[in-house]
């Protein structure tokens, strides 16, 4: 499914983020991470309670008119806006962009994603605790990558590079999916390889490069 998801060419960072946000839980589910939905459930309960209050008021007002419902209107409005504020607070500060929270054989993990307006870079705040929990503390990690890493030029999402990025950057994911852990991408292609080439060792360097390319897998080297 994710390989054929297409975004319109006039793509915005928000669309890219949404598609990536959808792909993230799918990937972690495939690694047998069990998702904890508490945040979402609380949000839904808060939101729907407020809506139900509004709906009930609407119904009674429509059925019995203003005079009859006047006594209940004020408390209903107050209750509604209190719930609304709690709901907004919940989304902004507690959920705070959480895309996935769950637990698997290799540990607990919580990922919150964000992008800056008009800047096509996917940023994640990852909080994780590797298994076993008794001997490992909770750790926090901030990772980021440009969307170009897992979106083609014509807007297709490609799952593999995204999975590789996540597995290489986050230890808990990497432990669950070792096939996708790529050293090079893990270090980030931001670091430049410095080659000292003089007249004498040019052939040696060439041989080294050839050997390095074979071991790492040529396709994983990315050009910026």
């Amino acid at each position: 499914m994710s390989a054929t998801t297409k975004i319109a060419l006039t793509t915005r960072a928000a669309d890219l983020k949404n598609t990536t946000d959808d792909a993230l839980p799918n990937y972690l589910h495939s690694l047998k991470f069990k998702q904890i939905h508490t945040h979402t459930d609380v949000r839904l309960v808060l939101g729907y309670s407020a809506v139900i209050i509004a709906g009930t008021l609407f119904y009674f007002d429509w059925k019995f008119g203003w005079e009859a419902t006047k006594a209940y209107t004020a408390p209903a409005v107050v209750a509604y806006f209190v719930l609304n504020s709690v709901f907004t607070y919940w989304i902004w500060f507690v959920e705070a962009g959480c895309v996935f929270e769950g637990e698997g054989k290799t540990g607990k993990i919580r990922i919150a994603s964000s992008t800056d307006k008009h800047i096509p870079i996917y940023k994640c705040d990852v909080t994780f605790t590797p298994a076993p929990y008794s001997s490992n503390p909770q750790q926090k990690l901030k990772i980021r990558a440009p969307f170009t890493r897992w979106f083609t030029a014509d807007g297709y999402f490609v799952a593999k590079p995204f999975q590789q990025w996540l597995a290489s950057e986050v230890p808990v994911v990497g432990a669950a999916d070792p096939n996708n852990v790529i050293e090079e991408i893990g270090r980030g292609s931001e670091t430049e390889r410095v080659l000292n080439v003089t007249g004498n060792n040019a052939i040696d360097v060439l041989e080294q490069l050839k050997a390095g390319a074979k071991a790492g897998g040529g396709s994983s080297r990315r050009r910026k």
Partner: protein, 173 residues
């Protein structure tokens, strides 16, 4: 985008539906909040006729207030007549009683030739304070024309609602 909507998990669907319901319910509750504060069942009214020209035009949006207000001659008020469901926006031209005797009011549209006696219920010659929904405290010209459109062409309401629904559902977060 639509295909991703169709394959959404139930929680995601519930969340998107919630966004749509929230837009509607917040608008409704803001209106109700204002109604409570102004002590007026409908604190925002659209002028439907030209009987108050040149002061009020058809399509003007007016704001009413009913809390702690005594109705004076010259006030523009909105009142209901028993048996008729459309409230009328006219000016108070005569006032009787108000002290020991119950308050009685006579109204007339600025642009009308005669006073409102014919508009009242059969046998009724004056309005009571309770008939008055509220007095005008402010107005915004032209804004209310949308409501007139809704009244004259009810399908516009459905189209707008569908449009709001679709945009909220297809948006995320």
């Amino acid at each position: 985008m639509l295909s991703s909507f169709a394959t959404s998990h139930p929680r995601k669907l519930a969340a998107q539906l919630l966004n749509f319901a929230f837009v509607l319910s917040t608008a409704f509750m803001l209106f109700k909040g204002l109604a409570v504060i102004a002590d007026c069942s409908s604190p925002i009214v659209v002028v439907l006729s030209g009987s108050m020209e040149p002061a009020m035009q058809r399509g003007d949006l007016i704001v009413l207030w009913n809390r702690g207000r005594d109705v004076q001659v010259g006030d523009i008020v909105v009142y209901n007549v028993k048996g008729k469901d459309i409230p009328i926006v006219h000016r108070v031209i005569k006032r009787f009683g108000g002290g020991a005797e119950p308050l009685q009011l006579l109204t007339k549209g600025d642009n009308n030739e005669v006073d409102d006696t014919d508009l009242y219920a059969p046998g009724q010659r004056f309005l009571k304070r309770g008939d008055v929904e509220g007095s005008l405290v402010g107005y915004i010209p032209y804004v209310g024309y949308v409501t007139i459109l809704f009244n004259d062409y009810p399908w516009v309401k459905t189209v707008i609602l569908a449009f709001v629904g679709l945009t909220t559902l297809l948006q995320r977060g």
